[in-house]
């Protein structure tokens, strides 16, 4: 009897504070699976965002730094420049990354900072209890959009496709969008993470994996409903796939495939 799917080594066996069904837990596991596979646990540093994943340092069994809300890319810039041989992960929610931290992510990406951003897009502010995020879909309800997000009448803006925005910047080298709403998408997301981490360790530019993630609590849904909503409502707007891939490795891969 062989343990084929077991608890990752770099993830501590502690009950998380996340709600039942929350995507953060899946994403944590994917990160640690890749770290274990790459064997870099003792060379990994994560920057946890201010958001539901603020307590992630309780779960990840490697060093962490916790900077103010939205400033994770700035903090990660400082960390990675000082520790270029470490795997530096910048974990961010959609409020953190796409609202208050817009300037920081744009410029870290543009500078081609050599860390990897894991961007958890759950279309809502989880931790603070369900306010509208920059990624909230049109019509989606939130405590601060009580009648649904209304870009026209109330001037609440449109959902921002972050990968597509960062694609326009010179320093971004790998931008992919995955989801953790079912097993197939989850597996593909892991591949994206692995590709990004490997590119980072090769010293290529800015890499980011956006992950559509369910927040059953603030969407007011049962977990199973929530993963279905990811499929029916989020994915049609936030197309999955590799949005930008300018990795040297990829070029090689392409060449090799062409042989």
């Amino acid at each position: 009897m062989e343990l084929t799917y077991g608890h990752p080594k770099s993830l501590l066996p502690i009950q998380t504070k996340y709600c039942p069904g929350c995507g953060h837990g899946v994403i944590h596991r994917l990160i640690t699976e890749v770290i274990d596979e790459m064997g870099v646990q003792d060379h990994s540093i994560i920057l946890n965002p201010v958001g539901c994943s603020i307590w992630a340092s309780l779960y990840f069994d490697f060093d962490s730094v916790q900077v103010p809300h939205g400033r994770t890319p700035a903090g990660a810039t400082g960390v990675k420049r000082m520790k270029p041989d470490h795997l530096v992960i910048c974990y961010q929610g959609d409020g953190d990354l796409a609202a208050i931290g817009t300037a920081e992510i744009v410029h870290a990406a543009n500078r081609g900072e050599k860390f990897t951003t894991i961007f958890v897009n759950n279309a809502i502010y989880g931790m603070t209890g369900g306010q509208m995020a920059p990624t909230t879909l049109v019509g989606q309800k939130a405590t601060t959009a009580p009648y649904g997000r209304d870009p026209i009448g109330a001037g609440m803006g449109y959902p921002i496709r972050v990968c597509e925005m960062l694609e326009t910047l010179g320093g971004s080298k790998y931008l992919a969008r995955g989801a953790v709403n079912n097993a197939a998408n989850t597996r593909k997301t892991k591949q994206y993470i692995r590709k990004a981490f490997e590119a980072q360790m090769r010293g290529e530019g800015f890499t980011m994996v956006e992950i559509l993630s369910q927040c059953p609590t603030n969407w007011g849904m049962e977990p199973v409903e929530s993963v279905e909503w990811v499929e029916s409502d989020m994915i049609p707007f936030y197309k999955l796939g590799e949005i930008k891939d300018e990795l040297a490795g990829s070029a090689n891969a392409v060449k090799e495939a062409g042989k």
Binding site: Y5, P8, A183, T186
Partner: protein, 71 residues
């Protein structure tokens, strides 16, 4: 010969979200009626023999509450 698997649920870690139940192609898992000590209703293995060790349950579980063995 078809691959056989064995899913193991950690009742105390499981928060009863049922995502694994949805993800299992062979309906090996189902909700329990007894709560765990946190008050959650965890899943239990109801048809172990049907497990094909595909790992879907593990893959979707947000709480690493299932591990899967290949027999």
């Amino acid at each position: 010969m078809a691959i056989k698997g064995k899913p193991v649920v950690d009742r105390e870690r499981c928060k009863g979200c049922l995502l694994c139940v949805r993800a299992c192609p062979t309906k090996v898992l189902a909700a329990d009626v007894e709560p765990n000590s946190w008050g959650y209703y965890p899943v239990k293995v109801v048809a172990e023999d049907k497990c094909i060790a595909c790992g879907n349950c593990y893959t979707v579980c947000p709480d690493v509450a299932i591990t899967v063995y290949k027999l």
